[in-house]
Subunit: 234 residues, 2 copies
Amino acid sequence: MKHLHQRIRDDIEAKIMSGEWAPGHRIPFEHELMAEYGCSRMTVNKVLSTLAANGLITRRRRAGTVVAEPSNQQAVLQIQDFALEAARAGVEYRFKILHRSIEPIDAAAAQRTGLPAGTEMLCVSTLHVMDDVPQAFEQRLINLATVPEAGEEPFKEDPPGTWLLRRVPWTDAEHIVRAVNANGTLAKQLQIQTGTACLMLERRTWQAGAFVTEARITYPGDRHQLVGRFSPVA
Amino acid sequence: MKHLHQRIRDDIEAKIMSGEWAPGHRIPFEHELMAEYGCSRMTVNKVLSTLAANGLITRRRRAGTVVAEPSNQQAVLQIQDFALEAARAGVEYRFKILHRSIEPIDAAAAQRTGLPAGTEMLCVSTLHVMDDVPQAFEQRLINLATVPEAGEEPFKEDPPGTWLLRRVPWTDAEHIVRAVNANGTLAKQLQIQTGTACLMLERRTWQAGAFVTEARITYPGDRHQLVGRFSPVA
DNA sequence: TCTGCAGTTATGTATAGACATAATCGCAAA
DNA sequence: TTTGCGATTATGTCTATACATAACTGCAGA
């Protein structure tokens, strides 16, 4: 016998997933479900609150609870940590800092980050290598106003991404995935032919509204893919 | 005065986000938080359960509650509906079915879908066009065992993706994003140069364990990008 | 017809207590 | 030293109840 909480949840999810309860359909009131399952209102309430938090249903006082519109379906992409992935795959990982400077950002970067043009940022280019094969080229801007200690960091132990993740957890992030043809410089660094399709992941992160970092990571398209797995209900 | 539930949650999130409580740090026991905030254990329990559901903390019986490792960070990608996006952008949208047949799947497709080779599937190729410019090329397999009515569907009104989404809500999905160079056929359909980097989104969906559909959607890389936005805490 | 107030109702939050269960700890036996 | 078992403990689930709050309903008055 499963827990009642799970059973109620499964039942409701099944009805929604099967289409028996279409979007907009009014779900039985808490006191009705309470009678149906012979449990207290708290139990029903917790189930419905959880489903609402997951976006499956919409609740409004007095009006009741309805099945949510399936408007913006979402998928989850795993964000990889190179060293971790390499360790898991049992290959040797190393990285190389190709460039490091502190510069005022240009207008385009100011636009993307929402900071005033001319703000000083740490610019770092990193090459990620596994088993002597270049796997990704990373261009990163780090906001020294948010992470001042980055200015002194030589990135000897950890690459910038890992270093940052350990020090500054982010609260918001924006991701863009693009396909680009490799230009000469990139092709040379990644040891691929000019023109090869590459996957470019652009990520900007904020911590409590303060801009933290922007990373543009380019992967050779013939060797990499982003994989995600998603269940609409956890 | 905010609700106690929210206050406890904010406090804990702040400590984790600021790094004061690093990953692996043991969080006060429920009865300690209960004493600290002068509330009942149920209130604390609900807060911690929610945080655990969001992946911020890890709970284990007897062992206690610790701050979760930020290993598998996840990003959310919006899955787009062409017609919806077009309507929002105020441009004209139409689609064209280029190919439609019922065929037994080959070994590779069997591997990907987990179905036996030779299973009959509906194969549909669709071109998505906005303002007379081809925007995406879609190759789709639909499992007739799960969606038998698709065999009779002419896809006059809605393209296969939209049609399916309305009839068969999915419960699980797998996504792969790749960068590929356009081959001759693809380049001709999308009216781009051969070799142009394209974004290929591959999506397979299941409903309660039963395979529903596989879609491979290819976008010209110079005109498209996938955008996602994510907050680790809801 | 319109406006505003009071009543009703469904959900939101919180409590104090109960029993279940998994994981650990420590002691005792092999 | 190792194994096994019981005690302990923190979390998991659930109840019955209470009061708060938002929003709809309908009535009364302008």
